[in-house]
Symmetry: C3
Subunit: 270 residues, 3 copies
C-alpha cells in the first residue's frame, strides 16, 4: 500500500507488506524490508536501508485526541542503516550514515547529527540533541533535555535522567561534552555536566559535575584520577584521551587525530 | 481475519493485517492499528486505541503443551492508549484510561487499576497487583508477587525482585505503599516493604524495609533524611510529600490535593 | 511465501504472513506463528515452536554492503520454544529444548548448549558461548567474548562487559564457571573470572575475580562470606551450593543431584 502522493526514487526496493503514507519521499537506492509502516511526511534520503517492521513517522500525542495525524516531519539522512523494528517519531531529524541496532525507539524533537550509532533497545526520549560521531551502545536511556556533544561514547544500560525531585515536571537535562565516555550502567543525575574527555566508570551514580579528563567511579561517584593514568590492560599503554589511540569509524581513520585535526584547521583557515 | 464469533461494536477502526480470534469483544469507538494479533477471549472496552502489532491475549505456558488455547480472558479498560508492539497475556485485567509506551510486556495474572501508565520496554512479570494512578516509566521490571499500591511512581530501570536466594523457587514479593517514589535504576530486594511517601534515590540497592517519608540512597542503601528536607533544585521549595506539589494527571488536577481529598471524604460520608 | 528450495517436514503449522527463504529446513511437527521471517539457510529441528514475528537467520553486516545474503547458517534444536519477536542471526547454533521470552536478540557466532532459557529483552551480542542448562532471566546483556559454563544462573539487568578501557577494540570477555549465580543488576567488568558456585549479590560492580563458593556485594564489590553461610529466608536452611537444594528443570529433577551425579559417573565408567 503506497499512498498516491508518495514520491519514490529509482532503484528502490520495497518488500512485501510495507505501508507508505501521505507525502512520504523515498530517494534513490533505498531498501525497505518487510512490513515497515512509514506513516506521513517522512523523508528517507538516498542509499538508506530500513530494516523489517520499522515504524517511521510514529504518531505524537496529538494524534490520539482525534485520531488524525498532524504535520510532524521526519528526515532520515543518506546511507543510514536502521535495523529491524525501530520506532522513530515525527518532528525528528537524523543525519547521514546513521546506524541503529534492533528495536530502538526515538521520540519527537530529537536532533541527531551525522555518523551516529545507537544500539539495540536504546530509548531516546525526545526533546534532546545528539552531536556527530556519537556512539550509543545497547539499552541506553537518554532522557528529555539531554545534550550530547560530538564524539561521545555511551555504553550499555546508562541512563541520563532529568527530574531532580520526581515527580516535579521541572526538568533539567544532562550535558555531555565532546570525547567524554560513560561506561556501562552509570546513572547520570539530572542537570549534571560531564566535561570533555571525562570517563565515568561502570556503575557510577553521578551526583556532581565531572571535570575535564577526570575519572569517577562509585555510588555516589567520587573522582579517582586523571584519565591519563588509565592504561590498556593488554598493551600497558595509556588510552586516554582516546582520540589519540582509537580510530575505527572516526574521521581520522585513514591517518591519525592530529594529522586530521591539523588539516581540518588548515582547511577552515582557507 | 475476524473470527465469526467476535463481537465488534460501532465506529470501530480495524487497519490492515489485524487478526481477531474467537470470542473477542471489541466495544464502540475502538481503533486497532496495523497487524495486531488479538488471540481469544479478549475484551477491549470502548474508546481504546491499540497500537500497531500489539499481541493481546498472548498464550500462557499451557498453550505449548498441546498447542491449543485454554480459557484465559484479558480485559482492557475504557479509553486506554496502548502503543505499538505491546504483548499482554490472558488472565489479566487492566483498568480504564491505561496508557503504555512501546514494546511493553504484561504477563498473566496481573491486576492493574485505573489511570495507570507504563513506559516503553517495561516488563510486568505477572502474578502481581498494581493500584490506581501508578506511573511506571521506561524499562522497569516488576517481578512476580509484587504489590504496588495507588499513586506510586517508579522510574527507568528499576527492578522489583522476588527470590531472596536464587534459584530457590520460594518467592517473596516487594510491597510499595501509596505515594512512594522509586528513582532510576534502584533494585529492591525480595520481600522489602517500602512505606508511604518514602523516596528511594537513584541507584539504591534496597536491602531493608524503608520507613514512611524516608529517603534512602547508596549500595546498600542507607537512610539519609526525611523526604520533607528535599527541595526543588530550581525553586528551592519543598517537594515532598509530592501530592501537595504535583497535580498533572492526578485526580486533584483541577484544584489541589487537600480540597480534592476533603471533598472525597465528604462524599464518602454521605 | 515459501521459497521453492525450502524443505518442510510433516505436521508443520505455518500461520499467515510467514516468509520462508532459500534452503530453509523445517523438520516435523514445527509450529510457526503469524508473520515470522525466516531468511535463508535456517534449520529448525523437530517439535519446535516459533512465536509470532520472529526473525530467524537475520542478516550479518556483510549483507548491507551489496544487499545480498551470504552463507550464514542458523540451527535451532529440537523442542525449542521461542516466544514472539526474537531476532536470531545466522552463524549461530542453539541446542535442544531451548526456551526464550519475548523480543530476545541473539547475534552471530553464538553457540548455545541444550536446555538453555533466555528471558524477555535479553541481548546476546554474539561471539560467545553459553553452556547447557544455563538460565538467563530478562533484560540481560551478554557482551562478545563471554564464556558461560553449564548450570549458570543470571538474573535481570546483569551486564557482562568486554572492553576494559573503551573505546579500545581490545576485548576481553567474562568467564562464568559452572553453578555460579549472578543476581539482579550486577555489572561484571571485562575479563573477570567468576569461579564455580560463586554468588554475585544484586547490584554488585565486580572489578576482581571471584573465588569459588564466595559471595560478593557492593560497588566496587567485596567478598563478604562463603555461599555456605547464606540461608533461605523462609525455611532458615542453607541454600548453596544450590544443586543440592534446587531441582526444577534440572537433569536431577526426578531424584537429587548426588544420586543423578553418581549414576552419571557409573554410566561414564561403563
Ligand atoms: C561493549 C560492552 O559490552 S563493554 C562496555 C564498555 N566497558 C565498560 O563499561 C568498562 C569500562 N571500565 C571501567 O569502568 C573501569 O572501571 C575504569 C576504566 C574506570 C577503571 O579501570 P582500571 O583503571 O582498570 O581500574 P582497576 O581495575 O585497576 O581498579 C583500580 C581500583 O578501582 C576500583 N574500581 C575500578 N573500576 C571501578 C568501578 N567501575 N567502580 C568502582 N570501583 C572501581 C577497583 O576495585 C580497584 O580498587 P582497589 O584499588 O581498592 O583494589
Ligand atoms: C524521567 C527521567 O528520565 S528522570 C528520572 C527521575 N529522576 C531520578 O531518578 C533522580 C531522582 N533524584 C534522586 O535520586 C536524588 O538522589 C535525591 C532526590 C534522592 C537526593 O537529591 P538531593 O537532595 O538533590 O541531593 P544532593 O544532590 O543535594 O546530594 C546530597 C548528598 O547526597 C549524595 N547523593 C545524592 N543523591 C544520591 C544518590 N542517588 N545516591 C547516592 N548518593 C547520593 C550526594 O553525593 C551528596 O553527598 P555529599 O553531601 O557527600 O556531597
Ligand atoms: C526473578 C527475579 O526477579 S528475582 C532476582 C533474583 N534475586 C536477586 O537478584 C536477589 C538475590 N539476593 C542477593 O543478592 C542478596 O543480597 C544475597 C543473597 C547476596 C545476600 O542476602 P542475605 O544473606 O539475605 O543478606 P542480608 O539481607 O541478611 O544482609 C546482610 C548484610 O549485607 C548487606 N547486603 C545484603 N545484600 C546486599 C547487596 N546485594 N548489596 C550490598 N549489600 C548487601 C545488608 O545490607 C546487610 O548489611 P548490615 O549487616 O550492615 O545490615
Amino acid at each position: 500500500m503506497i499512498h498516491p502522493t508518495a514520491q519514490i526514487g529509482q532503484d528502490v526496493t520495497i518488500k512485501e507488506g510495507v505501508i507508505i503514507g501521505d507525502k512520504v519521499i523515498i530517494e534513490d537506492n533505498v531498501y525497505i524490508d518487510y512490513g515497515c509502516i512509514i506513516r506521513e511526511n517522512v523523508h528517507i534520503k538516498k542509499g538508506s536501508f530500513i530494516g523489517a517492521r520499522c515504524i517511521l513517522g510514529e504518531y505524537l500525542m496529538d494524534f490520539y485526541k482525534d485520531r488524525t495525524n498532524k504535520l510532524h516531519p521526519l528526515i532520515i539522512g543518506e546511507n543510514s542503516l536502521i535495523r529491524t523494528e525501530n520506532i522513530i517519531y515525527g518532528d525528528t531529524i537524523i543525519g547521514d550514515n546513521f546506524q541503529s541496532g534492533h528495536k530502538v525507539t526515538i521520540r519527537e524533537n530529537t536532533k541527531i547529527g551525522h555518523n551516529v550509532r545507537i544500539g539495540t533497545l536504546s530509548d531516546i526520549q525526545g526533546h534532546c540533541k545528539i552531536g556527530d560521531f556519537v556512539s550509543i551502545h545497547s539499552n541506553v536511556h537518554i532522557g528529555q533535555k539531554s545534550n550530547i556533544n560530538d564524539y561521545v561514547w555511551i555504553f550499555p544500560y546508562v541512563v541520563l535522567t532529568n527530574d531532580p525531585t520526581p515527580p516535579s515536571g521541572k526538568l533539567v537535562g544532562v550535558t555531555v561534552d565532546s570525547f567524554a565516555i560513560i561506561a556501562t550502567g552509570s546513572i547520570i543525575m539530572p542537570g549534571i555536566h560531564i566535561n570533555e574527555d571525562a570517563l565515568i566508570g561502570a556503575g557510577a551514580i553521578v551526583t556532581k559535575d565531572v571535570p575535564k579528563e577526570t575519572v569517577v567511579v562509585g555510588n555516589p561517584s567520587k573522582e579517582i584520577c586523571s584519565v591519563r593514568k588509565i592504561r590498556n590492560r593488554i598493551t600497558g599503554e595509556p588510552v586516554y584521551p582516546w582520540r589519540y589511540t582509537f580510530k575505527r569509524g572516526m574521521p581520522w581513520e585513514e591517518s591519525d587525530y592530529e594529522t586530521w585535526f591539523n588539516n581540518l584547521s588548515l582547511q577552515e583557515g582557507d
